[in-house]
Assembly symmetry: C2
Homo-oligomer: 670 residues x 2
């Protein structure tokens, strides 16, 4: 096991300097010969080699001990025993000048090691009481929407804004997978423990990863295994036909489950720690059980049964809706679809069938209410799906730190104050996100978008963490030794950047005012007359979608109280979601005290101005950060300022032309 | 010379049956050994072989004689001498049971032969006085926007709706060019005598057709030569850099004209009857003389000078405008651009530099005023460019017979009644169109779109022909022996189909309410906030572009009187162009007596209903035409009906939402 050292990519949050505190100490590792324990040893050795520390021998002196609880322990670690640790967890404390990490399993040891890295010199300062750290969610996963070949429309990475795939190139797995190993290391340091390595839209070539191209999957799994990352595959529901030569993919037809069982057995023979499958079925053209008159539980359970003997799981996406809707039909509501399809199936899914639900009922918009499906399936393992790749939030050309959005989602309480949060519900299933990583030298196109990847891992481990504190962690690791100006500047630029993005784009939760297809930049009517079910119904009098029970689509009824009542009420519905739930006149007065149309003008002027402020702030750190990184960010910021202005003017002009209401402050609207 | 017999493509307007009248006669050909004369002989022999006629020997008896005027002639032909014939022309007459065609050159003989084909049995009926036929325009040309490779966005044929290219496949000229020969034959039978075989957007591979890939051009030229079609190439203005290794493409820099002269000389060494170049320069990203501070005359003249010693011409497109316009800027008007750029250059172009002007000032919309550039350059050879490929007129999924549109354009009189027409102006340059042909079995995707190709050739030969009569010709040739029901049905479906298409799409000349990029289907605001300079400025009060001199962009001033006054006047401006020239309130009363908004509703309901009527009419000829052709047309008609309804509803809904004015007749608007 060697620690990957990349020369052609930015180190992200693990630059050599970030390991100085550990690497300049005497470090004792007391662990078994498992792969992950070897990784911990190799990390320690590598850091010490760089920074002048030493790998301590048992019996010798040490400043840091990383120990598995099963072995014989030095006193400092022995004293920490007794706390419950659990899978992947660790206890961290410091006493008598020695810092100790104690874990029940090697994975815990690895996470503990990275916790010490994160603390840096602080880990070796004052005494600290032993504190247990356990992941809140067992499954913390990134889905890659990577194709093997460059797709004619979607590119290599569907919704990818960071170059090609780190896994695939020219139709097969890359020969040199060093970058994948480095990715695994970054993920482990943030808390992620699973990835799916191919697009959920499984095209013909990619389908074969399951069978004759499995060797390529195994090669990738081998690179991720040392960092505790289990590999998953997106599979095509019609594989028994396409790959198996059967006539049918009907989950209840003889031969089909058997094909999946045999195929899955072969997967595990090649990759014993294979994680499982990810399935997008009966969605946006992908095949699924509906073709055979079966439901999603039938489909998911068949795959779950194939995986169960081997300890695998199937992630079955709830992103099912009619993408050929008639825009004339106002009774069909895409927001209702996932709940309509899945809530009735609660209790029917196997224990290793995880229903994967997008955080909102539509599709990763900048602002959506939390999906009611999450509250509707108490007898099902649910995983919540976020989107780290910024499809609808600036495509890594705009600074948009998503920690605050995810934090709000994870902390949302369907049943009111004091009741369980979304994160609580997701403990049974997991937290999943579409990755923003590609083969770009900065991993994520926009260097500052690395913070989103980092924050996702950390929130999956501990959903209650404060997004601003996470950003602070990320800054400290990524810009070690950076001045206070760097820290303050990045907070200025990023803390509120999601709200800024929201201000200059689609107002009041209405969503989807983007250019069709690529989803970048404004087009207020772009989706208004399409089959995609994404409308705002703006006319000369008002705007918004009536989803009330009283007069609309009844979507509010999918929520439990109190939200079913709050969203139903025109006066109580939160401003930021008003147009998602109600169609109102432009003169409607918000809780904030301004009218809807004036709010649109005000936020769009403010948002574009804030974008310019973000751009200006970055100039302050020129010379304080790497020049190439500074130039890359500056180039993106120029585009953000241009784009924010474009959003401002198109949205404002659209609503001025439609409403005829002038701006109260007389600002220029075209 | 063998006549191509295709087994994998529809015969279009030259099915074997169409040559029965000629082929069942005794035919005498009196001509030289030139290639075109050989073609006439081969055509006659082929037709006689099929239909039982005979090739008559000199001195023998004959029913038809095709003779060059220079030789010794039988009495019936000798008697026709004396009429002026001219290049490519012929005299046709019948006396004493013998039909005679007399021509000065072999090309005229070929065109005369096809005229006899067109007449069919009528050519062998009653006596007819000798009548001279001469092409009104010397250059009658089709431009192919074909790429060698499939372009990732545009496909193989840019704006092509008929499959791949008949010339190119997998990056090089097709091995089997039989189809190209057959295409040449169809073109000759309609009157066309020139083609450009590659896209005016000249990508890297295509640029090399001029130099090391010239052999492929020669191979295509060899197939077209027997039918009198001269091949032209679209060339990249930056070729001296890309292909010649020079530092510059500046037309006034030493070395650059020399490179073009030497390169052109090599072209003519390989293809002695090469036609010349087509250039799109300084337009939509293509390179051009502006980069060197030169103007379009400088650029065009350099190429003209290179071509002149060999008898070639350069077609220099006037389609130059700012495609990165700011939509906020209402003072810039794309409609003005070509005139602003080119009118001041009048008189500066060489005699073999032809300025190629799109028929309208924008871009092949369903309805545009005629481009004022055509009236503004009396001392320049101008060619008028039409679009046979239905980019903006239904993309060969909709029936849209364009003969009436072109006829209107060609007959337009800039200087008022009795003055010269557009066709008169174009006699010096030519008539050119973007072809609608691909490797589709029906050549044009929609079988009925063949009529557009046919009508284009015929109008280029004789612009005054009646479009309905041309359609009748086409029907007779394409459906020989078809019943009167077929003829009547096709007239019902096609005669008014352009107006029908106009009714259900963009109203009153406003244009561009199409989906950006591919340009199919409605999107009223699709181009409203883009850099393309194509806006309608609809707000809650009104719609249209103010291009008057009094209060608008001044575009009306580019026309000579009387049109400069007619278009300027709100009351005199023709209804169908009102929104092109004026921004008016929805309540504005048209010359037709209805308001603008009611006109929008009325025409959109009517247009969609007419489309349904076209669809219904086609059912009447089931069993009367080839079943496969019937099925293909039916499938397209289904799509037309669906699409027309979509246009109707989106446009009506858009304007109802914006204006708030209900339909007078209470019809359903969503």
């Amino acid at each position: 096991m060697t620690i990957p050292r990349l020369t052609d990519a930015h180190p992200a949050w693990l630059p050599p300097e970030a390991l100085r505190a550990v690497g300049s100490r005497r470090v004792l590792v007391l662990a078994d010969e498992s792969a992950l324990a070897q990784t911990v040893r190799a990390e320690v050795a590598d850091a010490c080699e760089r920074h002048g520390g030493t790998v301590a021998a048992p019996g010798g002196e040490f400043d840091l001990v990383l120990a598995l609880s099963a072995g014989s322990l030095p006193p400092v670690a022995e004293a920490m025993k007794g706390q419950e640790i659990g899978d992947e967890g660790f206890v961290l404390g410091r006493r008598d000048g020695v810092t100790a990490v104690l874990a029940d399993d090697p994975a815990g040891l690895l996470y503990g090691f990275f916790q010490v890295v994160r603390l840096g010199e602080e880990a070796f300062g004052a005494d600290r009481p032993a504190e247990a750290h356990r992941p809140a969610l067992r499954r913390r996963m990134l889905d890659h929407w990577d194709n093997l070949d460059v797709h004619p429309v979607m590119g290599q990475v569907e919704r990818g804004y960071s170059g090609g795939s780190i896994f695939w190139r020219n139709g097969s797995a890359r020969a040199d997978l060093t970058r994948v190993r480095a990715y695994g290391r970054l993920l482990a340091a943030s808390g992620v423990n699973a990835v799916a390595i191919n697009n959920v839209n499984v095209h013909a070539t990619e389908a074969r990863l399951l069978t004759d191209r499995l060797g390529e999957v195994a090669a990738i799994a081998a690179e991720l295994r040392p960092y505790g990352i289990r590999v998953h595959l997106s599979v095509n529901f019609a594989s028994p036909i396409a790959l198996g030569g059967l006539d049918s993919a009907d989950p209840l037809e003889e031969g089909v489950p058997e094909w999946w069982a045999a195929t899955t057995k072969r997967v595990y023979e090649t990759i014993p720690d294979f994680g499982g499958y990810v399935v997008k079925a009966d969605s946006e053209g992908q095949p699924g059980p509906f073709a055979y008159g079966r439901d999603h539980a039938d489909g998911a359970n068949m795959l779950a049964d194939a995986l169960a003997p081997h300890g695998g799981v199937v992630f079955w996406r709830a992103f099912v809706y009619d993408h050929r809707q008639d825009w004339r039909d106002r009774s069909t509501d895409r927001a209702r679809a996932a709940h309509d399809h899945f809530a009735p199936l609660d209790g029917r899914f196997r224990d290793n069938a995880i229903v994967q639900v997008k955080y909102g009922p539509m599709d990763f918009q900048t602002r959506e209410p939390v999906s009611p499906v999450i509250a509707a399936m108490p007898n099902t393992r649910l995983a919540v799906e976020l989107q780290v790749t910024q499809e609808y939030t600036g495509q890594q050309r705009h600074v948009c730190y998503l920690g605050p959005l995810w934090s709000e989602v994870l902390g949302f309480r369907f049943w009111g104050h004091g009741e369980r949060t979304v994160a609580d519900v997701a403990t049974k299933g997991g937290l999943i996100a579409v990755s923003n990583v590609g083969d770009d030298p900065y991993w994520t196109g926009h260097p500052l978008a690395q913070a989103n990847l980092y924050a996702f891992g950390r929130l999956a481990w501990s959903p209650g963490l404060d997004p601003a504190a996470l950003l602070d962690e990320w800054i400290g690791l990524t810009f070690p030794g950076g001045s206070e100006v760097v820290r303050e500047t990045l907070h200025t630029m990023m803390d509120g950047s999601w709200h800024t993005y929201e201000r200059y784009t689609a107002p009041l939760g209405v969503g989807f005012m983007v250019r069709p297809g690529h989803h970048y930049g404004p087009d207020v009517d772009g989706y208004e007359y399409t089959p995609w079910g994404t409308y705002h119904f703006a006319d000369r009098d008002g705007v918004g979608v009536d989803r009330t029970r009283a007069t609309g689509t009844g979507y509010t009824g999918q929520y439990p109280a109190p939200w079913s009542e709050v969203y139903e009420s025109l006066t109580e519905c939160p401003d930021e979601l008003l147009l998602f739930f109600h169609h109102v006149p432009y003169s409607h007065v918000l809780q904030s005290g301004t009218t809807v149309v004036q709010h649109i003008y005000d936020t769009h002027f403010a948002g574009a101005e804030e974008a310019a402020g973000i751009r200006a702030a970055w100039e302050k750190v020129e010379g304080e950060v790497d020049a190439a990184l500074h130039a890359r960010v500056r180039e993106r910021l120029d585009e953000q300022v241009r784009s924010a202005r474009e959003w401002r003017d198109q949205v404002n002009t659209y609503f001025l032309r439609k409403s005829g209401v002038p701006d109260e402050h007389g600002r220029r609207i075209y």
